[in-house]
Amino acid sequence: MSAPGLSLGSLPLSRVPGVAVVLVALCAIFGVLSPGFTTPANIANILSQSTILLLLALPMTIIIMTEGIDLSIGAVLTFSSIVLAVTVIATGSVTLAFFTALAVGLCFGLANGALVALLDIPPFITTLGTLGIAQGLSLLVTDGQSVVGIPPAIEHIYSGTVAGIPLPVIVAALAYFATHALLYHTRFGTYVFALGGNREALRVAGISVRGMLIRVYAFGGVMAGFAALLMTARLNSAHPTAGIGMEFDAIAAVAVGGTSFERGNGWLLGTLLGVIAVGVLRNGLNLLAVPSSTQVACIGAMVIFALFIDGLRSEQ
């Protein structure tokens, strides 16, 4: 299912349960185990903390739909965040710093896209390489230290509220609806389905496959740059290891959400639910004082469990 109304997204009904079951089960478990879980403050907290991940998981969904992957997205987020912090400290201009971060993300995205599309290097290898480059640059620029002394204006971007709703949640919601419109209502989105589903069809239709691939990866880079703003605001600093492993969470969220790694079968709403599931899991385990290393293992188990449920359903 392709064409959804503006309503929900669409897509394989057989996929809904996997992520829905996981989400409901997690909420039930943590609701029972930790009393603080269901408080409005904690729920707002979960949503706020999920926003950065959502900004990465949205483009990741599209990239995965093209049978690609972007392993560099977490490292690019980190490097963009460092550039943003350094720029804002040096110039005092939040706007300039924000656009510089976007530009850094865009450059990495374009580089990924160009390597994949023009040089035919497999996306896994390409983005593994740019992951290393971005990570290395982060350490090089900061000498392994945090970048601190950021003006308070930036911090408000993460902690502020509009009509009681946390600002990052509003930003993430806008990003979600924009990506939804992009995927389901534009030519670009239609061609994303074709990139994964049947590239030959796209070629025969006279659309440049290479141009499309470059745009897809560039979108991922820009979104990572955008997420850098929220990340820097949240930490009130930039840290060269802050985004390590974010690509894992993003890919996990997409997989839990039921997007297939083959044939261009993607589902954006599933990704949103997957992101929330990852957020709920991390938050709940934090409340139970489970160390973060164990949390990663739990996310891994959750991915497998969700796909197992989907597999059960599609077998019937």
């Binding site: 064409a3 069809a201 261009g264």
Partner: protein
């Protein structure tokens, strides 16, 4: 229309390194005409069509559209002259809907830049689909459609681009009889609208049922331009192969059947068959026929252990086997699948690698691969089956369809298979090579193997099989002994009453 053809190719020649693919071929297309293009695999049909649609450039030759000289140097130029190809492997995107597929790359823009005018896309798609008599919701996603429906979407896509010349390459290859009828009635409707159709087919019955004109290619040359009324099937086949070949292979005497190789009792399964009973003896070729969807393939898959079974029993050489491909193959069963390219072969690997694949466990029980021994085994199979390859190191993908089929068979021979299931063994294989496949089947049973053969080509069942079971709606509708085995009987048992 008068006497000016809609489109004309004159004196087309095309050479590939080492091969003269087309030599001075001329071809006329007239409005409202179904022009059959026939010839064996490798005769140059596909090359000619690729030149027509701009995928290849001719070395020499000229094009005329409505009598005026034109050039076609790429696909978009061909489209301008209304030429569209319905490809064998479809150019559809599975997770887009019908309308989005029809207008892929030509979406109607809405007022917002980049956005699609959805209402208009669906309305236009509906109009095109109605125009060809295909009544379906254009919002239906393509991945849920059957092959025939996908083909209709392809045709709608071509027509929406104002195609006046449709090239169809073996369009019925994957269709059931009913779907084929639907396609034929659509072709009649397109003809009435003045659309010209170039139709490539290996099925002689179609050539005569549909064709207004027949062009025969052989070895890159145009051999004949015929009217079906003035031609007989035998004449046509003679022209295609250049030497007289029986369309119907005459089988030699068979030894009397031996022990029971396969015994299936009351087999039922969730994939839609129930209470199936059949036996196959050593030295016998037994047909399993019925319409597409009658459960033939499902039964075969269940026997092979690829699909689940809910009740019943399968015995191979007296021993029960159940739901395991591993035990089935270890006991000497082999399935030669319908789609050899995706299910039977590793196309990029060499002939030799493919031949030893199924017999690895038997040949190298220690687990250590000895290349010399593998090569020797491959040579033995290549000689035995007369596989046309200069060396076992050649990639299988480079061989002809008939020779690829032989490699699949050879793979199982090398694994000491004694019971063979053939699913549509002659699909996509040209007339000359078909006889050779039949000769091979005969050779297998002469050496004591047992064969269960599934085929949609009833005439093949009649000519090659000793007995046949006919399936209908998941059940065995009847068994035909050799003296009862006629096309009419198969059809009578197979159709729904």
């Amino acid at each position: 229309m008068a006497d000016v053809p809609l489109f004309e190719l004159r004196g087309i020649s095309k050479e590939f390194p080492g091969v003269k693919a087309l030599d001075d071929v001329s071809f006329e297309i007239r409005a409202g005409e179904v022009h059959m293009l026939v010839g064996e695999n490798g005769a140059g049909k596909s090359t000619l069509m690729k030149i027509l649609c701009g995928a290849y450039r001719a070395d020499r030759g000229a094009f005329f559209s409505n009598g005026a000289p034109v050039t076609i140097h790429d696909a978009s130029a061909a489209r301008q002259f209304g030429i569209a190809v319905i490809f064998q492997d479809f150019t559809l995107v599975p997770y887009l809907d019908i309308a989005q597929n029809i207008f892929l790359g030509r979406e109607f823009a809405s007022r917002v830049p980049g956005f699609i005018d959805r209402r208009r896309i669906y309305a236009e798609a509906k109009r095109v689909l109605d125009g060809i008599g295909f009544h379906i919701d254009p919002r239906e996603p393509v991945h849920g459609l059957g092959v025939a429906q996908q083909q209709m979407v392809e045709i709608a896509k071509a027509l929406s681009q104002d195609a006046r010349i449709l090239v169809m390459d073996e369009p019925t290859a994957a269709l059931s009889d009913r779907e084929t009828e639907l396609l034929f009635s659509m072709i009649a409707r397109l003809k009435a609208k003045g659309v010209a159709i170039i139709y490539i087919s290996h099925r002689l019955s179609e050539v005569f049922a549909l064709g207004d004109r027949i062009t025969v290619l052989r070895d890159g040359r145009k051999i004949a331009d015929l009217l079906p009324k003035e031609t007989t099937p035998d004449q046509l086949v003679t022209l295609m192969v250049g030497r007289p070949v029986d369309t119907t292979y005459t089988r030699p005497e068979r030894p009397s059947p031996g022990e029971v190789a396969l015994e299936v009792k009351n087999l039922s399964g969730p994939s839609g068959f129930s209470d199936v009973n059949l036996t196959v003896r050593a030295g016998e070729i037994v047909g399993l026929c019925g319409l597409v969807g009658s459960g033939r393939t499902e039964v075969a898959r269940a026997i092979f252990g690829a699909d689940r079974v809910t009740s019943g029993e399968i015995r191979l050489f007296g021993e029960p086997i159940a739901e395991s491909i591993e035990t089935a193959t270890r006991r000497g069963m082999a399935l030669i699948p319908e789609n050899r390219k995706t299910q039977g072969l590793a196309l990029a690997r060499s002939v030799g690698d493919n031949i030893v694949l199924a017999g690895l466990r038997k040949m190298f029980p220690s687990g250590i691969f000895v290349p010399r021994r593998a090569l020797k085994a491959a040579h033995a199979v290549i000689d035995k089956l007369r596989i046309a390859t200069p060396t076992p190191r050649r990639p299988v993908g480079a061989l002809s369809g008939g020779n690829q089929q032989k490699v699949v068979i050879g793979k199982w021979l090398n694994a000491d298979a004694k019971f063979f299931i053939f699913d549509e063994p002659t699909r996509g294989i040209d007339v000359g090579a078909k006889s050779e496949i039949f000769r091979l089947l005969d050779g297998l049973v002469h050496n004591g193997a047992a064969v269960l053969m599934i085929s949609s080509e009833q005439i093949e069942i009649v000519h090659i099989c000793d007995r046949a079971y006919v399936m209908r709606s998941g059940r065995i509708a009847g068994e035909l002994a050799h003296h009862e085995l006629t096309e009419a009987n198969i059809v009578r048992l197979g159709i729904h009453q």
